[in-house]
Symmetry: C2
Subunit: 597 residues, 2 copies
Amino acid sequence: MLSYDPPVADYMFLFKELIDLDKHRHLRGFADLDFEVIEAVLTESGKIASEVMLPLSASGDREGCTRHPDGRVTTPSGFSDAYRAYAGGGWAGLAAPTQYGGQDFPRTFATAAMEFRSASNQSFDMYTGWGESIAEIMMAHGTADQCDTYLTRLISGEWSATMGLTEPHCGTDVGLLRTHAVPQPDGSYKVTGTKIFNSGGEHDLTDNIIHFVLARIEGDPPGSKGISLFLMPKLLRDENGRFDLHNAVSCGSIEHKMGLKGSATCVMNYDEATAWLVGEPRQGLIGMFKLMNAIRRRTGTMAVGVSELATQNAVAYAKERLQGRALAGAKRPEAMADPLIVQPDVRRTLMKLKSFNEGARALLVWSGLIADIVDRTPDKAEGAAAEERLALITPVIKAYLSDEGFNNTVGAQQMFGGHGYMAQTGVEQLVRDSRMLAIAEGANGVQGVDLVLRKLGHNQGQSAFDLIDEIVAQLAANRTSTPSLSLVEAMAQALDDMREATTYLVGLGSRDREAACAGATDYIHLMGLVLVGYMWLRIAEAATRQIKEDRDESGEMAAKLMRARFFAERMLPETSLRLTRIKASADSVMALEEQWF
Amino acid sequence: MLSYDPPVADYMFLFKELIDLDKHRHLRGFADLDFEVIEAVLTESGKIASEVMLPLSASGDREGCTRHPDGRVTTPSGFSDAYRAYAGGGWAGLAAPTQYGGQDFPRTFATAAMEFRSASNQSFDMYTGWGESIAEIMMAHGTADQCDTYLTRLISGEWSATMGLTEPHCGTDVGLLRTHAVPQPDGSYKVTGTKIFNSGGEHDLTDNIIHFVLARIEGDPPGSKGISLFLMPKLLRDENGRFDLHNAVSCGSIEHKMGLKGSATCVMNYDEATAWLVGEPRQGLIGMFKLMNAIRRRTGTMAVGVSELATQNAVAYAKERLQGRALAGAKRPEAMADPLIVQPDVRRTLMKLKSFNEGARALLVWSGLIADIVDRTPDKAEGAAAEERLALITPVIKAYLSDEGFNNTVGAQQMFGGHGYMAQTGVEQLVRDSRMLAIAEGANGVQGVDLVLRKLGHNQGQSAFDLIDEIVAQLAANRTSTPSLSLVEAMAQALDDMREATTYLVGLGSRDREAACAGATDYIHLMGLVLVGYMWLRIAEAATRQIKEDRDESGEMAAKLMRARFFAERMLPETSLRLTRIKASADSVMALEEQWF
């Protein structure tokens, strides 16, 4: 059985030390924020995560979901009660607009609640957290009536939402979809088709489930230009205004998966189901892209959460498990053996996990703030710049964090030896659950193409160069504040690598898109390392400040500087390897004919 | 459902081109070997793997093993029949001595059969392959009667074997074991204790199961110096000479695991079970270590097998699945989309898998030959040198191949997108099954300590420097035969990195064992890369020779050179990163007190 201590203190450190709140008071919802309220929200969200959701994670994995012959899907025991606690506590609307009943808590801070929830129970988490994302689509593209009817109930958690995107023959290439919609005289549509990989397409947590479905209106052009977005409730309103008419949407089966067994992944059949257009016809992907980007960043958050949970438990095991002796001589001669944590390779692994988790968590906060600026600034120029930045880093946050978060669950599992392979220890479930993160919401390979061709391509890499400039400025500050830290020189090198890689890929991409994309995954990882390194620069500056001001009573700030050093000396040098690969000839990737694979 | 085409042709290429058989005719069993016989054996072993074992892999995973209330354990449906086919075909004794009914097929070639078997069904494979390993222990340490009685039946496959090592409180640190043995007047012992993680400790494939158990004879000293090895049959001989008396050994439960569900992992209770000493008292670890080393190399073979199976299926999917368009313009404009394999990141991933599999397979053959020299040469000096070499590379083969084999199953799974996460596709099982390889038979972190402290330490790195010298000589040959291949320069750099790392670690290890071990895992990976690169040098030389001699009708040799190039340009540069980490200060690993983890 795993235990979990939500990292509230770590978040509060980041909020207090890395974000100058007074510089952001002009953002909507930031004016009256104070740290006491934020800490109270985090503490409560941590409690529901560790006390309500975590205990259902292993049992949910064992029990899984069940589809009954009548098409009903039941979630694992306890999920219904947990959902009631979640919705009843107002968590479904934490970051959603107050206009429809939400609490409008900025993402900068709400990210913490998201991490705690996904760490404690990733399967359960898949049913939640739709409020703010759906609000964005509906407030931008929906009608007032749609917002009043549906959004309010989604934000209260009374109803839940699900996305119908993938079809058996098309995932990434959504333009191939076959689900089609026929306009009806009353303005509604009849939608027919089959969707797969529909997380929470059917379940027993809420009475109504609102399906957001991509489909092609009859007669619209093939490909992605002909795709519209529809709202399709499971339950329709009857003549008395009650939602108790079953729509022609049904779950044909649920998938048996590697992990996330508590999350119902449904095959959904629409058989002339009633639906309403959201936004303009053939503009379905516009709203969906914004939503997808939010979900991609959320995927990064989930990865940090599961990595944190795995790390906490690996650390605990390494301290408890007595096995072998310290190489420099017994540390606990009175015991039958020393704890595993005296072993260098165990420490190396745990330092890797911890230095990732802390730096990546700062990245979540920093990117949350950028997303908040996009949504909440009255200053158009500031908003546009933030949007540019957010577009650049979104694929990195999705892919780099999900790759490394998964790797970290594997690293944590390794600390348990043979016990880590056994189900009862619990950590193997984290490997299985987190494996999905690199696959779903746009497989990581696709994120690389997005970054290298779209995000670098549209302005000759200017967004990336702007980011480099910002980090260079931070580095200059660190040369004053933390001059002796090895992170300073390591980041200087990493930034050189990123600049060279960016210049190279921008040039190459304009001539040969395939060659550029042969290095796309390496570029994602290069930028991910630089971003986490950037966060460590800022953390190190803050920690040094606290130490100088005699505020490091516990010694945690000194420990942070050691983790910064680990990241600098053992993780950051990877940027040079990534650069070497990026600059390698694409021939060894592209030249062989298909038959030689 | 996965498909599998055993790489017989690839092995035959390696046998014919990389091994100069005539230089090894003096080895026992090599005199009359010819390629026709070898190919026939490989073809047959491939057939039983792909036709008999593979079809039971997914069903075995779903069904798992069952422990019945009476303590019996049943394996998944079909395993019994498959075992009969395996034993009936004489495969249990393929590499075992003829003296006891084996076929004495050298490991150099038998490795292929081992790879095919583990690729097709890793769970099933766990029950098999004991013949040759047990033969080594028993012929060296057992009595003639023990060999006659037990070894013959193990080699015929009539009976099976299992190892009782791990206890609930001790895995790696076997010296802590509590199982104890009390001598009896008739020369036997009564053994009492509990073992865990006992693969195949109980099952229904054979009537009798021979347990090889580590225990401490009453009164013997604590720690690893007091450990003896016992032979403990499940069924004892009755007064009529029939083996039908149940020994006091029983299965208390079986584990629920992440994968390998068709393999029964048992908790075994010995309750004054009758057992006989194998070898001298308190010398139990000597025999066990030799066995463990063979099993560690076998683990590397299993990793290559599962990586090959995953790769073959990922390649097939990438060629079939139509999704998206080639970045340089549609490749199949008449179809709804192009196959995934036109995408650079898909190709990059598949080239990585294939360049690993091929090079790693050559490494299995090469190390199999070294093991054969140890066992089969009449020349003592040659045998001693081979033993030194084998000791050096064993931890690398175990840890590097298992780490990368697992990573490759993850990479292959990624090619399937969301479908790869679903059980029915089959590839997620490979991720779960292969995850065990880095954990079992000495977790990979322990392999690093073995390499850096023991294998480098005992002769100041001379074994490693000898290996470097051998590769330098090969490199000189390649400078003539394949001068334009980028592999030549890449290997020169990689060898420099290995030499520098070795010198550094030998020096550091003599002063500060903990600091040296902070870089142990990196050193394992560095040497693994160099070894696979070495194999690619030899493959490239052979391929170039075939091309020059107009023997490359199919074009496969030219494709091999491209895979060599991929390995050189995109994999080998990792040695420099590994060196950087090895030379990084150990402070960031060792300095923090336990409380800061």
